[in-house]
Symmetry: C2
Subunit: 124 residues, 2 copies
Amino acid sequence: MKPTKSIEDYLKAIYILSLKEKDVRMKDIAQLVSVKLPSATEAINKLIKNGYAKHSPYSDVTLTKKGEKIGKEIWNKHQILYKFLKEVLGISQDKAFREACLIEHFISDETREKLKKFIEKTLS
Amino acid sequence: MKPTKSIEDYLKAIYILSLKEKDVRMKDIAQLVSVKLPSATEAINKLIKNGYAKHSPYSDVTLTKKGEKIGKEIWNKHQILYKFLKEVLGISQDKAFREACLIEHFISDETREKLKKFIEKTLS
DNA sequence: TTCAAAAGTTAGGTTAACCTAATAAATAGG
DNA sequence: CCTATTTATTAGGTTAACCTAACTTTTGAA
């Protein structure tokens, strides 16, 4: 039942877009995930089938509670990893961002929490 | 031309096995990578096609220079991540190992080096 | 208000990585 | 030295995630 890395990427993208824009469109999701539109359509249909999102054809996409929870979690892990890579290790913004995007799918909640506390302690 | 995560897993496995055993056998590779034998056969053929390994049917597997370099690199990244997770963050042995196995494919050489130096500094 | 451009979907195809079942080769114990 | 077991390969199939090309719906500018 655990969502795939790809599904997590879509949920994160939709979550981020929904923070900034009134309507989240297919086009924007595809762009943010770096895929073509048909791939986004297919992926969103999978999200819907699994109860992560709602969407009717040619309309905007919204997350369910369940979908939002995961999207938010991944984005949160991303931000913590980004901060660690950039501020603790001194990796450049761009590279830190890109690596955080890859690693975010693989750290446990425990690691996220411990890393968060560790960063706070280290940077104070 | 960058090897896939899966290819890296096989190269790492063969590298580790070659440190301990005279002959590296398909059976052992499959077991360490957690796949069935036919999957290992298929994967090793891909390694050969890409110049990472040598192998004749029903015989042992050896890495080329190129293959060994990558296997060793991944194992090195793994060990550094493992140490960070376990000794700096305080994650349990098992969990630290499992997470290191996932993350090892995604950190750059720069991050590996900076993380290594950071661990040394922190644990001293 | 219409119609061209933009956005979205559908159809059909590719690739990587895995699997099971069947087969072949190698090896080891009686 | 032969045959049962173990090891390895081949054949054929599945799934997830992507793609292009073709089609449909929506939108916005003249």
